[in-house]
Amino acid sequence: MKNGKRLVIFICLFLALLPCLSSGQSLMDNEDYKNARLYQQKAEDSFRAGDYDKAYEYSELARQYTAKARVFAEGLRLRYRAVNYSQLASNRLTWARSVGAEWNYPNEYAMAVKDLQEAKRALEDGRYEASISFSKNVLRLLSDVQIPKGK
């Protein structure tokens, strides 16, 4: 019962944290992306004006900033994937608990709770691949949980 309460609190906190994980992380807000766009525009303007040297210079700068923005976008995707898997794992755990997995599948359930905590910790630490891995473990551990017969 104690564990159940803890889990509910944990899940609530996790869900509350979700928007924070994504807020301020849009590509549009990324400085590298903004610079890439800025220099791309300058390059296009210079090109139209016939100043090809400037156009080249600006587009090269745009490329450099784009490369940085790509790293950010790749990280963002991984991060969002980790969030997604955490959410999936969390949902599954909530459901498992609702069908009595805590008692019917105690080992799996306990491990799943532990892994979900690890997944969350890893997510907070920016270890997205590890987080995804823990979340997948939760899903695997609870994959056999079934609604008890007669319910």
Binding site: L18, S22, S26, L27, Y33, A36, R37, Y39, Q40, A43, E44, S46, F47, A49, G50, D51, Y52, D53, A55, Y56, S59, E60, A62, R63, T66, A67, A69, R70, A73, E74, L76, R77, R79, Y80, R81, V83, N84, Q87, L88, S90, N91
Partner: protein, 223 residues
């Protein structure tokens, strides 16, 4: 003896005097003017100056290929020149006459041909300038373009002043410089275009990646 009347005697004396005067020996003739010494028939001089001038004009016509622009006068000039050359040292009078005709005809070729040639070269230079303008070479390679334009403007002034040879020389230089400016600008444009294309493509990829990420986030919690 019968006395002769006085009147008869006077008349007789007058007649006699008249007779005597008419029968007198003529006065000695005035000395004849001295005859010029007999010389040989004069040979017309060799028309060296005409020959040299005709050759010079012919050279100019050939150098600028003006013959094709004024074909009738050119053919006439060539014919006269050939006749003059053939008669040279053989029949100098004829040679001079032919060479004079050749000179006149070559001058006609030059007078009519130069403006036509200048117009043609001006059109060619303008085409090179238009090509350079088409890729904004005046911005991309300003220094080169300005140099070409300055020569072009100077050529037009020379042409206006009738200095065709100078005008043609300047037009040829301007044309080459416009062509160079175009080539340089084109190389710069191609480089910039390629870089622009790559940066545009890069941005698109990043945006697609971000869109995928957003999609993942929106689907959070769904398998």
């Amino acid at each position: 003896m019968k006395k002769l009347p006085l009147t008869f005697m006077i008349l007789s004396l007058v007649s006699l005097a008249g007779l005597l005067l008419s029968c007198a020996t003529p006065p000695p003739a005035a000395p004849a003017p001295p005859q010029p010494p007999a010389v040989e028939k004069k040979v017309p001089p060799l028309p060296e100056a005409e020959y040299a001038q005709a050759k010079e004009l012919k050279g100019k016509v050939e150098k600028y290929q003006l013959g094709a622009l004024v074909p009738e006068a050119f053919q006439s000039a060539e014919k006269s020149f050939q006749e003059g050359e053939t008669a040279y040292k053989q029949d100098n009078e004829k040679a001079k006459s032919s060479l004079d005709q050749a000179i006149a005809a070559y001058r006609q070729v030059i007078e009519k041909g130069f403006p036509l040639l200048a117009d043609r070269k001006k059109a060619e230079t303008e085409a090179a300038k238009d090509q350079a303008d088409s890729i904004k070479a005046n911005v991309a390679v300003k220094e080169d373009y300005d140099k070409a334009k300055a020569l072009y403007d100077q050529a037009l002034q020379e042409r206006k002043a009738g200095a065709f040879e100078k005008a043609l020389e300047l037009l040829a230089q301007a044309k080459d410089l416009f062509a160079d400016a175009y080539a340089k600008a084109k190389a710069k444009k191609d480089l910039a275009e390629e870089s622009l294309r790559a940066s545009q493509e890069g941005l698109k990829q990043v945006e697609a990646q971000a869109a995928e990420a957003e999609k993942e986030l929106q689907q959070a919690g769904t398998p």
